[in-house]
């Protein structure tokens, strides 16, 4: 029996534009379409998924997991190698893509279904099932622009999982909406498995990979670094993360970087209490971010900035010297800038730190290193939810309730 999905030495190259000339005029004058770095996000990637099996793909951010998924879905085309996909594919990449804001939820089901290649009468037969699954009640007949993002995602999920497909691709979207809906999504995916469908799951959630998948592969530096039983592969991945924590100079997550490099970031470190590099923090820990730089040309009035994004893309925090009213003046030939915060008030989760040097009005980027460092925040004993931790206190019936000693 042919494999449901087979990748044979598949390579994919991306361009990262430093300067993009996207006008004919400029291209004509400069005789080229911009200055860019080409990098191979995937290099000779080979793997197979047998029909009816569930494969988990794990790896750091920028390792090419999602690119692999988009290649399976035929949204992207490889620069080399062979991809064979046998069966109809339904992709849960970004839910609610292609919704028309002025259309009602019901009308959007048809529009979205058509986008997924479904006939109208097929959708009509499934309509009640989809609406029921989305569970957004009478809102189904209101325009989608009145929906909360959670409602739109639920509707998107409901449509995508009700497509009659043999292969289901899932990218980090298992946990949408509230706990009850997330449970429903998990149940639905389990049901897919029971029906003997092929699943490819890309996730940071190692538990989900262990729970759903028969096999897992770890992608790093464009290729498969480990393959096998999910328990083994996730353990391998965790060991990798731990090793990196001990040797932070080893290649971090493959990241995007751009800028003129007049001033460039030489090294970025996150330090904990003892002034030693750390990649795992507890909520409330003090934190320092040290950005070492070097100038290749004289740079005046630079702005240093940091930004924190959660692994699922939620933009959590950003700060820069400009916003703090700090004038740097002429930048030294080399040196370091340190960001300190007394408490890292992030809730439990996996985060990424981006760092950048720009000019005062952000017109010129000297060096922007996107998602330079991945770090994890644990919230021992006090886990609540959300992105921030507010150092809350509770007063019950007039008496301050002390938290249990941890």
């Amino acid at each position: 029996m042919p494999a449901a999905i087979s990748f044979e030495r598949v390579s994919k190259r991306f361009r990262v534009y430093k300067q993009r000339h996207d006008s004919l005029k400029e291209a004509f004058i400069r005789r080229r379409r911009g200055i860019y770095d080409e990098f191979w996000i995937l290099r000779d990637l080979s793997f197979e998924v047998e029909p009816g099996r569930a494969l988990g793909i794990i790896g750091a951010n920028g390792s090419g997991k999602s690119t692999a998924l988009k290649l399976i879905a035929k949204i992207l085309h490889p620069n080399g190698g062979r991809i064979a996909v046998n069966g109809r594919v339904s992709a849960l990449l970004e839910l609610g893509t292609g919704f028309h804001p002025d259309y009602t939820g019901r009308e959007n089901i048809f529009l979205n279904g058509a986008l997924l290649g479904l006939r109208r009468d097929f959708i009509r037969r499934r309509l009640d099932q989809i609406i029921e699954f989305a569970g957004i009640g009478p809102f189904i007949d209101n325009p989608v622009k009145t929906y909360s993002s959670g409602m739109a995602m639920r509707l998107g999920f409901a449509i995508a999982v009700n497509v009659e497909s043999e292969i289901l691709l899932i990218d980090e979207v298992l946990a949408v909406g509230d706990a009850a809906f997330a449970q429903k999504c998990f149940d639905r995916v389990s049901q897919f498995r029971a029906e003997g469908k092929t699943i490819v799951l890309v996730s940071h959630d190692l538990d989900a990979v262990r729970k759903f998948c028969d096999r897992a592969i770890l992608i790093d530096q464009g290729g498969v670094q480990a393959a096998g039983h999910p328990e083994e592969v996730t353990a391998h991945y965790l060991a990798d993360v731990r090793r990196r924590q001990e040797h932070p100079d080893e290649a971090g997550p493959a990241t995007a970087r751009w800028g003129t490099r007049d001033a460039e970031i030489v090294r970025t470190e996150m330090l904990g209490t003892n002034g030693r590099p750390r990649y795992i923090f507890d909520t409330g820990d003090p934190v320092q971010i040290v950005i070492s730089y070097r100038c290749t040309r004289p740079v005046k009035d630079a702005v240093f900035g940091v930004a924190v994004t959660r692994a699922d893309g939620v933009y959590c925090y950003a700060a820069n010297t400009g916003a703090r009213g700090i004038r740097i003046g002429q930048l030294a030939e080399s040196g370091s800038v340190v960001f300190s915060a007394p408490h890292l008030n992030l809730a439990e989760g996996n985060y990424q730190l981006s760092v950048a040097i720009t000019d005062t009005d952000f017109r010129t980027t000297y060096d922007h290193w996107d998602r330079r460092i991945e770090f994890t925040v644990r919230q021992a004993g006090a886990y609540a939810g959300g992105v921030v931790f507010m150092n809350d206190q509770w007063n019950v019936d007039g008496a301050l309730a002390p938290p249990a000693a941890s």
Binding site: M1, A4, F14, R15, D22, S23, L24, K25, A27, R33, P51, G52, K70, A73, K74, I75, L76, H77, N86, G87, R88, V89, A91, L93, E94, T97, G98, H100, D102, Y103, F110, L111, A114, L115, L116, G117, L118, R119, R120, E164, E166, D187, S190, Q191, R193, A194, E195, G196
Partner: protein
């Protein structure tokens, strides 16, 4: 919890043929997919038309207002002030202006069609040719409405409608083919170079006045005429004028010539579009 039972029940219910265990069920055929994407095209067109006329009580009226207004202005300028000796001038003018407007509209909306659907191009796999195609179909709906208006005008001015009208569908079809080819070509290039749309608007203005629409070809001095005659849009527009204004069958040479140009344009446009569309998801 009924969870362990449910999957079995559902999978059995869905595949009554007892084929539930077959791991590779027959994929929906090519024909089915084609029909589905036909419906997607219809969906896009309906969406575009609805968006265009949303909230305007007068709806379709707006699409007619523009050619009517232009006709009025050109009529005043060219039959009262400049006095081009073509009568009735409004019928002559609209015979060329109506298809030209549809042509310009198609190109303008086709050119930005991929860019405007960036969010779905990046995230969903579907036949990308649908994007410029839906721009063409949307514009052709408006063309058909304007043609009805033109027919009314021909009757009002006593020109009437001759048997040569049977050639109209052929001309419309060729025009759409040509617009699709050129539109797809421009749409693909627009993804990579964002100023194509501005070049287009300049090009369309020059092209409009270089095509015998507000004037007729025999008003052009003989020594410049070969230049005008080399313009494929002139072949098409003159054929429209033959049908509506002169009430005669269009000449064989212009129609055959335009046929060749349209087919070639569609082939080239589609080939370039397909080639460039492989990286749309990355570049758009």
């Amino acid at each position: 919890m009924s969870a362990p039972i449910e999957p079995i029940r559902l999978s059995a219910a869905r595949r009554p043929g007892g084929e539930a265990a077959v791991v590779a069920p027959p994929s929906p055929g090519r024909r089915d997919a084609l029909l589905a994407y036909g419906e997607l095209l219809a969906n896009f067109v309906a969406r575009d038309l609805k968006t265009k006329y949303r909230g305007s009580v007068l709806g379709i009226f707006w699409s007619l207002l523009n050619p009517l207004l232009l006709m009025l202005i050109y009529t005043v300028v060219f039959s009262v002030i400049v006095r081009i000796n073509i009568k009735p001038y409004p019928v002559f003018l609209l015979a060329g202006l109506v298809p030209w407007n549809a042509f310009a509209l198609t190109l303008t909306s086709a050119t930005t069609s991929v860019q405007q659907s960036a969010n779905i191009v990046r995230k969903v796999h579907f036949p990308l040719e649908i994007l410029p195609l839906s721009a063409v179909v949307t514009a052709s709906v408006q063309l058909l409405i304007s043609l009805v208006l033109l027919a009314g005008l021909a009757l009002i001015f006593g020109v009437g409608i001759g048997p040569s009208i049977v050639f109209l569908p052929l001309l419309v079809l060729l025009q759409l083919l040509f617009s699709f080819g050129l539109g797809a070509l421009l749409a693909a290039i627009q993804v990579y170079f964002r100023d194509v749309e501005y070049f287009l608007s300049v090009l369309l203005t020059v092209w409009f006045f270089g095509t015998p629409i507000v004037y007729s070809l025999d008003l052009v001095p003989a020594r410049y005429r070969p230049f005008f005659e080399a313009n494929p849009m002139a072949w098409l527009i003159s054929s429209y004028q033959d049908i509506w204004f002169y009430k005669r069958a269009p000449g064989f040479a212009p129609v055959a010539g335009f046929f060749v140009v349209a087919v070639a344009m569609a082939a080239i446009g589609l080939a370039v579009y397909r080639r460039l569309s492989r990286r749309f998801a990355e570049e758009v």
